[in-house]
């Protein structure tokens, strides 16, 4: 679902998973003024209907909108411009700073989060599009004391630590899907995350150790 196709995306109530009753804060007039689109566009048939125009409005207006995000099981509210990424929304509006902004272009993985069970880059998703989805961040994974966190420490899988949050989340998401990985699978599974200090040797071991821990179960309270 993307905001350019479904204007309701911005007004979904994440708790009920139903469209919220509240009116979209983005008015059609505001959109047309903001985007510099004249009435001629409508009459020329470029936008087929007022509904479509409203959909575009949600996408391109810079007016801030109130959103609610389901992060680590908590409903968090923020008022952000539609162009704010999920990552920046977390870091700049919600004080959730574990995920880091590094490349800001979906390459390095420092902003990795888990959305509806899928490992994603927080910098490649708009905050308004993240409404109605279940977002899991390192803060949530740490609160539940997932064994991957201790295994990173045991294997000294970190130096400066700036890539580490993304690595930990990516590792957790990887183990969710593949609880018994081979070493080769670990290397591939973490291919979407980059480290500058060069901590991969420890990280690869940490993921294998956490996999063993998770299967053993008894040793941790995860």
């Amino acid at each position: 679902m993307s905001s350019t196709q479904d204007p309701k995306a911005t007004t979904m109530d994440p708790a009920s998973q139903k469209p919220a009753k509240k009116k979209s804060p983005v008015s059609r007039r505001g959109f047309l003024q903001g985007s510099g689109v004249g009435a001629g566009v409508l009459t020329a048939g470029m936008l087929a209907s007022p509904e479509e125009a409203a959909a575009q409005a949600a996408a391109v207006s810079t007016a801030a909108v109130a959103i609610t995000l389901n992060i680590n099981g908590k409903m968090l509210k923020a008022t952000v411009e539609p162009r704010v990424t999920l990552l920046d929304c977390m870091r700049q509006y919600l004080d959730l700073t574990a995920a880091k902004r590094v490349c800001d272009r979906g390459t390095c993985g420092a902003c990795t989060v888990i959305v509806d069970g899928k490992v994603m880059y927080g910098c490649t998703m708009l905050a308004i599009d993240a409404q109605g989805r279940k977002i899991e961040t390192l803060e949530g994974i740490a609160a539940r004391k997932h064994p991957i966190i201790q295994s990173f420490v045991n294997n000294d899988a970190q130096q400066c630590g700036y890539c580490t949050p993304g690595m930990v989340v990516a590792s957790k998401g990887f183990l969710d899907r593949n609880p018994s990985p081979t070493f080769e699978e670990v290397k591939k599974g973490l291919g979407g995350n980059l480290c500058r200090c060069g901590t991969y040797v420890g990280i690869r071991k940490a993921v294998l150790e956490a996999a063993t821990e998770l299967k053993g179960g008894a040793k941790t309270n995860a």
């Binding site: 574990a98 420490v153 630590g161 973490l190 500058r196």
Partner: protein
Amino acid sequence: MPDYSWPPMDKRRVMGKRFTRLDGIAKSSGAAKYPSDFGAKDLLYAVILGSPHAHAKITRIDIADAKAHPGVTAVRIISAEGKEMNWVGQEIASIAATTELAARDAARKIKVDYEILPHLVHEHDLAKAGPRARPAGEQTTGEPEKGFQECQTVVEGTYNIPVITHCCLEPHGQVIQWKGDSIEYWPSTQNVSGIGGDLAKALGVPVTNVHVQMEYMGGGFGSKFPSDLWGAECAQLSKESGGRPVTLFLDRAQELMLGGNRPSVFAKVKVGAKDGKLHAWQSETTATGGFTGGGMNADLFPYVFRDLPHRKVNHTAVSINTGSARAWRAPNHPQQAYVTFSAMEDLCAAMKVDPLDFFSNNIKMVRQASLRDTYLRQLQKGAELIDWKKNWHQRGDMAKGPIKRGLGLGFATWGGLGHDSKCRTTIHPDGTVEVELGTQDLGTATRTMIAMVVSETTGVPHTQIKIRLGDSRFPASGASGGSTTIGGVSVSSRKSSMNALEKLFEKIAPLLNTTPDKLEAVDGSIRVKSEPAKSMSWKAACQKLGIQPITEMGENVGRNAPREGLISQGVAGIQMADVSVDIETGVVKMNKLVIVQDCGLVVNPRTAESQAYGAGIMTICAALCEERIADQQTGLTLNPDMEFYKLAGAGDIGEIIAHMDIHPDNDKRGIIGLGEPVAVGGIAAIGNAVANAIGVRVPTIPLTPNRVLAALKQSGHVNGRSIA
């Protein structure tokens, strides 16, 4: 004066153990707060507008619309009309606003007109560089011409290494709040004790007005020492915005273009051997460090094996229109190692000798005589770890099929003497040991190692020592650069803790019916050395202090340190690489990288190995994928991002073995820094392994598939068979 010397190797209880880092959980749980994580209710976001041109003069600048943009609190002109911009990204204006997006929108509203001027962004062609190339040192030893005539084998080659960038994951930047006389400064820095003074100077305020704090930082690698223009701008924006805190961090493109880079080297080398011994060396090198040129200590060529009879070296520095170089982990050494050991490996190939034998036979050419035996021992160890005798072959893998395997070798050296450092240890009546010093932990486990040193000294478990660093109000320590930190902080924290302990002993001795010199602090208790049964728990002893804690200082003075014997300098290391190359695709795959490194007394082998792994991986990045690409047509850097500026990932590095050369001969030299030397020899080792595999030298790194295929094509043959 107490005896500060380290306990003998076999008597140490804490130092030398494989402890995990104390801030590990903070980092892996996301709780660690970096300067760029700083949040405050009234925080403002600042951005820098940079030049879109590599060389241009500003003819007009108009910030009126930017100032009027909603949410903007301050706009400052950095480069006024008439100012020449000398690289893409060079700072023109700074903007602060209530949101980052508002600041970026406002930056786009700044109108700048330019007079475009000619630029140069490539350094390798001296003919095109013209007056921007400057001679930067020439040296002659012996009689090079005669020397080469005496050689039975002489090879010539070119060896090129491009500019690479630091690409710190946390970009350069800071948060600053300037309110009245107080400047609160949260930088991402390698220089907690020094950076406040640097900022104060730039702002023209007393240094005492600036308070620096930093718990964690996201990578520096030599590029984060000064407060920089961005620090001063951030401070001024805060002041002009009524004293609200301002966060200003470079964006990714700026980080790669402005945040620092390592100079290139383009080398033409001639090297010759006489009777199996290195006899003559000649190198002509060209490099750039950006607009300021690119100096290099030509005295280092040839690297490590420097004491050969005849040599002639000269260096040319070229100024180009790109951001300036900064110190990059072991400045100059990786490039010089690459050029030196590539040429010497080519010499070995021409002589058809095993490089392992060649370097062993030439060990007397190693300039630092004290390291010669260490190198020989390390060569042996490395050969064992990579199975050199079994896997090495003459140049060109004769195996059938397109996958060719080869081995290569490189050497490293570095100083690593501890910098000046002061430390304060307080023993509190409740038994808490508090250690304060203005150093920083870049991810090298400095916190953990200080705690281990203090634990070794006081007998209090290292996990219970309260380490406080990252604050300019603590006793000053040097900047963390050049592998100088561990030497500095281990001496200062050892001395301050031992001085404090002496005071505690004076208090406790009468209670145990003895004298202070007869006491020792071990395993959480204070006891009489000769009668261990006569003891008192640490906690009980500290309670005797009443309400008055003991606070003592300790100091390392770099220049005096070697005499005291706790630390020293000068290390040896070797790197060996095992690669497979697909000659149909040109893809180089790392099988194994072996690092054998001495750094004297190793405080924590686990975190030392991590340093070595990381540095090894950095050399793999540089050897196989990292390169800043500039376009002469437009003057632009084409890959100021992380998609096309390539770093290796978890699947690209093969197996890495880091063997710390822990040996009584090394240990007795005391503690020596480690970060730099392990980052030196890998590039040469990998390049040599590729040449050993495919039978030809690929002259320019990174060894990308197109370069490997081009070298094969140019040679016209693979392993003796024509591929024409």
